[in-house]
């Protein structure tokens, strides 16, 4: 059981993946989260990976077009520590849920929002997905391409959303920490685009210093940070330490005859233009061995290497198993699968006691009672479509 944020009340008014991920992090750290969904549920919950985003939250679908629904939201906010949303600012303003409208009413509230491209500039109101704002605009898609292959990436959907959600959660918790001293809430926000830029910092800085991207693996910049095709597949290598690793790589690739060759005496001899010739030589060596031989040999020599795991391979990876990187989950779709667990561990390897996504409206009655609604009121709200509730 994780209890880092025990006692913190979160009101989630989220729809897109990035906002939901921020809420997920807070919830998995022990916060008590009421998820105010649209009455039909958010589209994400109906996807195969929906469970990932809404697990362990209390689902309370509220019709925010109904004044009584808005009043219910305010009852929640009155007791809340954190409000998280990814609706565009115009929507929040219309509903009276933007920071300006709430800050005086709830001075202790942390108001956290995510946008696609930021709160200013020509794209501030444009729709943003992680494939466009995070990968596309921030330069990651373009710079990761192999120049010769001339093939774009199949951008891994959701990765940017998680990175962005984690960033917002970091800001929220830092603000909670600050509140223990000041007693005051504040506004915290980020965007898919800015997180993409920040994660792409190396390429952005490098290119301004004259390094060219995209690269090809035949002209990789650093010969020892590259992909190599073995007899039966690819491996990825990486090193920062020439003295420790260069000879080991030569040995594993059966290029022992080149040990001591005056062409490569230090890291610089393997970089930039020097990397081209060396890559050709290393290619010829790796082509003679299997992936297993490369991985075993380099690992034994303490050189960083990985075979190409597929997403599906990770589910049965003993390394992931040993470190509890997965939770076994019975999903909303009725299938038992393994879902990546929270990557942040406190003290031991404690995991959630139960990992479960709520049915739509599963907690409406419970939460309404907790917030002082009578049975008659609850029935009336359900009848009028102000809320959606299960089991009533």
């Amino acid at each position: 059981m994780v209890e880092t944020l025990k006692g913190i009340k979160v009101v989630a008014f989220t729809r897109a993946a990035a906002g939901c991920c921020c809420v997920k992090m807070l919830t998995e750290f022990g916060a008590d989260t009421v998820f105010v969904e649209p009455v039909k549920g958010i589209p994400l919950r109906y996807l195969n990976f929906g469970d990932f985003y809404i697990n362990n939250q209390k689902s309370v679908p509220i019709n925010m077009r109904d004044p009584k629904g808005v009043e219910f939201m305010h009852r929640l906010l009155e007791k809340a520590d954190v409000f998280v949303s990814n609706y565009r600012n115009g929507v929040l303003k219309t509903l009276g849920l933007d920071y300006e409208s709430l800050k005086d009413k709830y001075p202790k509230l942390i108001h956290a929002t995510i946008s696609g491209y930021g709160t200013k500039g020509p794209m501030k109101d444009a729709p943003g997905f992680d494939v466009t704002a995070f990968w596309g605009r921030a330069g990651l898609s373009s710079d990761s391409m192999d120049k010769n292959a001339n093939m774009p990436l199949i951008v891994p959907q959701g990765t940017g959303d998680v990175a962005c959600g984690e960033n917002l959660a970091m800001g929220v918790i830092a603000a909670l920490f600050d509140r223990t001293r000041t007693g005051k809430g504040m506004q915290v926000y980020t965007s898919l685009y800015s997180v993409g830029l920040f994660l792409n910092n190396s390429q952005i800085i490098d290119q301004q210093l004259g390094v060219k991207y995209p690269k090809t693996r035949k002209d990789p910049g650093r010969a020892m940070k590259n992909t190599f095709r073995c007899k039966d597949g690819w491996v990825q290598t990486m090193t920062l330490n020439f003295d420790k690793d260069f000879n080991s790589i030569l040995k594993v690739a059966h290029l022992d005859n080149l040990i001591g060759d005056p062409r490569w005496k230090c890291m610089e001899d393997t970089e930039g233009e020097n990397a081209i010739e060396l890559t050709e030589i290393l290619d010829s060596g790796f082509a003679q061995i299997t992936v297993q031989e490369a991985v075993d040999g380099l690992t034994a020599a303490d050189v960083a290497v990985s075979k190409y795991f597929t997403g599906l391979d990770t589910v049965t990876d003993e390394q992931a198993e040993a470190n509890t990187y997965f939770s076994d989950v019975d999903t909303l779709k009725g299938k038992r699968i393994r879902i990546p667990a929270n990557p942040i561990k406190f003290n031991g390897d404690e995991t959630l006691d139960e990992y479960r996504a709520p049915q739509l409206g599963e907690h409406t009655v419970e939460v309404m009672k907790e917030y002082g609604y009578s049975d008659a009121e609850i029935d009336e709200y359900i009848k009028n479509g102000t809320v959606v509730a299960q089991g009533r």
């Binding site: 195969n48 898609s141 998680v162 603000a175 910092n201 952005i204 303490d302 390394q319 992931a320 997965f326």
Partner: protein, 402 residues
């Protein structure tokens, strides 16, 4: 500005390479004070990527110290007592060997938050192996292979995985700091490159368990209108035009001057699944006839289509969207060269960016830090003479090419 959110928080920084320093950099951005203990010769990234070193270690104080000597250990112990947070990304076995395991440091300072960033976790067959983001974050998580088209490969961008894992750890540290305000107790926080990669790749990991096949090819994308296309100028664009078909599709057809296609595909479903490859083949031919700027502008004007050029990093530095939000800002390096730097993506209240300070020169803060810990000038000189610490006295010129 973020500068006072973690004001007063003291960080002992035992980080190398990229992932660890990227974690403590976030804490520095939020206002924490950071003292970085380096090997005597300095971290390797000081020399291999000096501008990147500024980006990761800007604003930190540095003290090069030989931790294998008894005096070095004693100095570190004093810093452990001083600190609220210790961040490290050495391998766990190295920390144990030095006598700086969680258990040891917890005894010295029970309020300490001990934050460890591993390559592959602290259990399992890979726990002692070297991990970089290229291998542990990209390779082991499934991202590397599932992101490339069949028979293609990608060139992994530097340090993206490091920063992602560093952010996760910083998030955990913030939570532990908050918890400490309630309990008075420190705790251990950890993550790994591998865990972070797997977490970000949840979509592919879950979908493939439902039977979805990866890697896939853009020529056989499930939705023709959620795909990437190459334009006549060689640039790639990524399009999501799956919503509001009645306006989105005619807009696309008009943009490429193929109005004849409007009625041929009256519903979005006519361009999905088994029908997608034929549509993609047509669009591949047509998009090649136009420049990317024209296509992007025309599709954006439709209002219902998300479209983005796969922007090169160098373009980012001139992007008004990035500049206006202070996502990039002009930063002047120690030699006077101006570079556009990405700014911390998390903003508080008024939303300004944090100005990055310079990374410390090797030994720049040794005297200041040792004075703070109660060492006398004679002791400092003695430590220098015996090769326990390195210190800069007075002013020293900095050269990136050093």
């Amino acid at each position: 500005m973020a500068e006072n959110i973690l004001e007063g928080v003291k960080v002992l920084d035992m980080c190398v390479a990229a992932a660890g320093p990227s974690c403590s950099r976030m804490l520095v951005d939020f206002g924490a004070e950071d003292i970085m203990v380096e090997p005597l010769e300095g971290q390797s990234t000081r020399y291999t990527a000096p501008h990147s070193f500024d980006f990761k270690c800007g604003g930190k104080k540095g003290i090069p110290c030989n931790l294998k000597t008894p005096e070095g250990k004693e100095l570190l112990t004093k810093l452990v007592k001083w600190a609220d947070v210790m961040v490290c990304n050495y391998r766990e076995k190295a920390m144990v060997k030095l006598g700086f395991s969680y258990e040891e440091l917890h005894k010295i300072n029970p309020r300490l938050i001990y934050a460890h960033l591993y390559g592959f976790g602290n259990k399992g067959p890979k726990k002692d192996d070297p991990g970089f983001d290229a291998t542990a974050w990209w390779g082991r998580s499934g991202l590397l292979v599932d992101i490339a088209q069949p028979d293609s490969i990608i060139n992994i961008p530097y340090a993206t995985g490091d920063f992602s894992a560093g952010h996760s750890l910083a998030l955990g540290i913030c939570a532990a700091l908050y918890r400490r305000e309630k309990t008075g107790e420190g705790m251990k926080v950890s993550t790994s490159l591998m865990a972070s990669g797997i977490f970000l790749n949840y979509d592919a990991i879950v979908e493939t368990q439902y039977g979805y096949k990866l890697p896939t090819s853009r020529k056989r994308a499930i939705r023709a209108m959620l795909n990437s296309y190459q334009c006549g100028d060689g640039e790639w664009i990524s399009i999501n035009a799956t919503h509001h078909w009645e306006t989105s599709w005619p807009c696309i057809c008009r943009t490429i001057h193929r109005e004849d296609l409007i009625d041929k595909y009256p519903e979005h479903d006519d361009t999905k699944g088994e029908f997608a490859p034929a549509v993609i083949a047509i669009l591949d031919e047509e998009f090649k006839k136009y420049d990317s700027d024209y296509i992007v502008e025309s599709l954006l004007s439709c209002g219902t289509i998300a479209v983005e050029k796969a922007q090169h990093s160098i373009d980012v530095t001139k992007d008004e969207q990035a500049i206006e939000n202070e996502y990039v800002y002009e930063w002047t390096d120690r030699e006077g060269k101006k570079i556009m730097h990405p700014a911390t993506p998390i903003r508080f209240n008024d939303g300004g960016h944090q100005e990055l300070k310079y990374a410390p020169m090797l030994g720049e803060h040794t005297i200041e830090v040792m004075h703070m810990l109660g060492y006398t000038d004679d002791q400092i000189k003695d430590y220098e003479d015996r090769g326990i610490v390195k210190a800069i006295h007075g002013h020293q010129e900095y050269r990136y090419s050093n």
